[in-house]
């Protein structure tokens, strides 16, 4: 069974989704929770069976699909992708568990299960086309979730979300086809297998163009400034569960893809574009933080904060060293947990008051102390308080990028200031002061169902903040191999210099460090 665990992880939810049509409407929630829990347990089993010392792909499966054109169903998992898969399973589980009274709940749960298939698929795919298939397919359930259960502007928001990402990924598809063509020219065989592509060393000019092509697809997904404007709409209109999954998992596809595709395939281009992208990332960080500060809708604050944090992830990714990339991957997970939790929290208050406008609240800490506490913890995590999950990622990302540029890191570091500004301001508006609105006086505090979803997140937030090693270890192992690959593949002087050679390092500092472990 372990040989096929990845396929099972991908297709089990989809199959369950199909069967879900048969399940009675009243028990569909239990069904959904059961399926998602099984999936989560399977994901945990994957972690359990995962060999931390191996840097390459594990549990690989290969099934010939279109061998004539080099497209095969290849899946595998390494430290970079594994935790995001677990996170996806986890969020689907608590997402379904926390679903309240939703109309058409059956459709919602089935959609979520399909969405889960695509999410897992994206992160395990090792064939560019298979990756693309899941990547695009993930748009559909999300489109439906936003469009069918969203707010008043839901149609605009969902269509915008779909088309924007769709347009970007089509450019990426052209890039992929180009890449396959280069592979064909070099070897005489078509292949879309990522591991084959890794072996290909491209001339710098090609790298630049292909990098740009891939960049469009990924950057829109992330979303990077100035391609981010779909996100506030999507979040603003999506139902809670949609925002949670979107923020926690779907956005990570973009950053994950940068690490999976852009960096190892185009190391020289990555170095070449490092500064422009870093500048974009910094604009993302500061600018969106400012925009977040200006928001009146608490969900929009969280939405923009997502963009801001994604900026840090991008920055860490383009640090092009182990520290930065590990940090950015960790931050992906961290941001998933934290922003997911924040969206859940916003959903809690939205369920009660049917508004997300901050001026409608105030003094909630008096009436909903538990809620305020959990929100506070998550806010502090989002702000990057040490010993919370976010800090580890942020610290490592910034630390990593500091090796590349001092001044840019200094600018990016402003994140910790502006992040605190909008978050604290929002928290103050919502929770502090006196209860002024009559409707708020008798709001019930978080109930059990909501706690089931929130408490695990709080625990993860703090646990991984204090002891990130179980996650950081496998990530580190895999990232080291990626960085080494990049170093070896790079052809320009600049790139050789920028991307550390880990094999060399071992003699100097590694041994002493390893000894201390």
């Amino acid at each position: 069974m372990l040989d096929h665990i990845l396929s099972i992880l991908i297709f089990f939810p989809a199959l369950a989704g199909v069967l879900g049509f048969v399940v009675n409407k009243d028990s569909i929630r239990s069904y959904g929770v059961a399926v998602a829990t099984i999936e989560f347990v399977l994901a945990l089993w994957l972690w359990f069976a995962f060999d931390n010392t191996v840097s390459g792909m594990q549990f690989m499966e290969t099934i010939a699909l279109i061998p004539t054109f080099g497209i095969n169903y290849i899946v595998g998992v390494d430290g970079i992708s594994m935790f995001i898969i677990i996170l996806a399973a986890f969020f689907t589980m608590i997402g379904i568990a926390s679903l309240g009274d939703t109309k058409d709940i059956k459709n919602m749960i089935i959609t979520l299960l399909f969405l889960q298939m695509t999410m897992v698929g994206v992160f395990v795919a090792l064939d560019a086309i298979i990756f693309y298939v899941f990547w695009e397919l993930s748009l559909v359930p999300m489109l439906y979730i936003i469009g069918a259960w969203g707010g008043p502007l839901r149609i605009y928001a969902s269509v915008k979300f779909f088309l924007y990402t769709f347009a970007g990924s089509l450019v990426m598809l052209v890039g992929m086809l180009f890449m396959a063509y280069f592979y064909y020219q070099a070897t005489g065989q078509w292949s879309f297998a990522l591991l084959d592509w890794y072996r290909l060393i491209l001339p710098e000019t090609f790298q630049l163009w292909l990098f740009v092509a891939f960049f469009f697809g990924f950057a829109i997904k992330v979303p990077m400034f100035p391609f981010h404007t779909w996100l506030p709409y999507a979040h603003g209109q999506a139902p809670t569960i949609g925002s949670v999954i979107l923020a926690a998992i779907l956005l990570k596809m973009g950053t994950y893809a940068f690490i999976r595709f852009s960096l190892p395939l185009f190391p020289d281009a990555s170095v070449y574009f490092m500064y422009p992208i870093a500048v974009l990332a910094i604009i993302m960080i500061i600018y969106t933080a400012m925009v977040a500060y200006a928001q009146k809708d608490v969900k929009q604050v969280v939405a923009y904060s997502s963009v801001s944090h994604m900026g840090v992830i991008i920055l860490g990714t383009f640090a092009l060293n182990v520290e930065g990339i590990s940090g950015s991957i960790f931050l992906m997970i961290a941001h998933g947990v934290v922003s997911g939790a924040l969206f859940l929290l916003v959903g809690v208050i939205y369920d009660r008051r049917h508004t997300k406008m901050m001026d409608q609240f105030g003094g909630l800490a008096h009436v909903m102390p538990k809620y305020a506490t959990i929100f506070g913890i998550m806010m502090m995590a989002s702000v990057g308080m040490p010993l919370t999950i976010n800090f580890v990622g942020e610290f490592l990302s910034l630390l990593g990028f500091y090796q590349q540029s001092h001044i840019l890191t200094l600018l990016a570091g402003i994140a910790i200031i502006v992040g605190a500004i909008y978050m604290l301001a929002a928290y103050k508006k919502m929770f502090f002061g006196n209860v002024t609105k009559e409707e708020n006086k008798n709001l019930p505090d978080v109930n059990k169902r909501e706690l089931i979803a929130l408490v695990p997140l709080v625990i993860i937030t703090i646990w991984l903040g204090i002891y990130p090693k179980p996650v950081l270890g496998p990530i580190n192992t895999s990232v080291e191999s990626v960085v080494q690959l990049m170093h070896e593949k790079s052809i320009t002087e600049e790139a050789k210099k920028r991307i550390p050679n880990l094999l060399e390092d071992i003699t100097i500092t590694k041994t002493s460090m390893k000894g201390a472990h």
């Binding site: 010939a64 699909l65 279109i66 061998p67 004539t68 054109f69 459709n107 086309i129 693309y132 298939v133 695009e136 397919l137 748009l139 559909v140 489109l143 439906y144 469009g147 069918a148 839901r154 149609i155 969902s158 269509v159 779909f162 088309l163 769709f166 347009a167 089509l170 450019v171 598809l173 052209v174 086809l177 180009f178 396959a180 063509y181 064909y184």
Partner: protein, 502 residues
Amino acid sequence: MLSPVNISMESLNLITLAPMLIPVVGALLIIIMDLFKSEQDKSLYVMISLLILGIDFMALLESAGVFAKDGTVMGVFDVMMIDGLAILSQFIIVVASMLFIPLALSKSRFSEYAYAEFFALFLFMIAGFQFMVSTDNLILVFVGLETASLALYTLIAMHNRDKSFEAAVKYFTMGALAAGFYSFGAMVFYALTGSVEINQIASVLSDNNYADIGFVLVGVVFMLASFGFKLSMVPFHTWTPDVYEGSSSALAGYMSIVPKIAAFVVAMRLFEFLIHSGVVWLEVVLYALVVITMTMANIWALVQQDVKRMLAYSSISHAGFVMAAILIGTTQANSALFFYWILFSVTNLGSFSMLWISRQKKLPSGQQSDHSFDKFSGLAKTSPLAASIMALFMLSLAGLPPFALFWGKMYMISAAVTGGYTVLALIMALNSAIAGYYYLKLIVYMFMKDPIIVHNADISAVNATNAIKTIVGVAVIGTIFAFLTVNSLLEFVTSFVYNSGY
């Protein structure tokens, strides 16, 4: 004095005629049957047509076998030419016809199906298309084309309502003009080379080293105009939406596939050698035509209020997309053309069948046209399955993986990339994104809006019978599980195209 001609039967290679003759014979059979007993139920004729097409299919398999063994076969005084393109396109024509003809078994009764002649003309039309693709003689192309077209005009008109007459007249008139263009173009080529066979034309032109490039271009222009009409390239496309709207959905779907593949094959035979001979002008003009067709059709599709018209514009755009293959001209591109078209057929079969299933005879109040978007509003609530299926086809048309058309799009764009047309590849990709909007529009209507129009009956069943449902089922399965067949299909298509020298 003329010397008597001695011809051996072997040299005639009559097998090359078999696939075309079968539908002709079948059509005659139907007419004769009608003579003996008229007013028979349409199911009889549908089944007979299916059987005849089945035999046709077998004959095609036979010729495919011959082609696989001997390569390109010429027959009947070298007029007939059975090569890979001919066989592939005939496969598409025949199979698509087999899939579309059961749509006649609708629940409601429509004028055309009360005629036995409908089925006869249908078979004649198929024969015409088959002749058209399996020759390189411009005369036979012309005659085949006209046979098919005349039958098609009639089939459209036989739907018997104002819109269909209007559609038929428009189509006919423009078709007549296109026929004029075609003959003028053929005349120019004949004037240049003294031959009306594409092989000969090509060899004479290259012997002349394209000295009379001006003449060549005039000929190309008229050919472009005439095939542009058939393939609905902008600005020769104007008939398409009206004709689609005017004819029944079943026939509209058919029109979006079969006549075009026939025209594509001829266009491929005709333009390919010119492109390969380095007629830069043609390359530039085709490039422009392809881009304009794709883009403008997409843009017009954005603003449509009727699903069928939207699909009409979308099929124009798809045709433009596929036309790029002829521009690129590599084996991969030409294979991609057929590959794309096969997958497109499956998807379009499905989407038009779904329209056909929901065809009401009397429009409820508030509904502007047969298939206005309003009609489908909130369909997911009333009949979720139908809505899902329709959405599936829309997503496939939009090129969303892993549904059928995605593979075609991918292969086509790949062909563009491989052929060195990077910018074209990007334009194609971005056009798919624009197209996403209008396909999405229907999904939005079905899944995200509440019903606007009060329907008396479940619109997904007003015209549904088991036969039509089966066809939809076939299309659904084909669309979803296309990825399983892609490999063999690709191998098959590529080998046929490659062995024909394209």
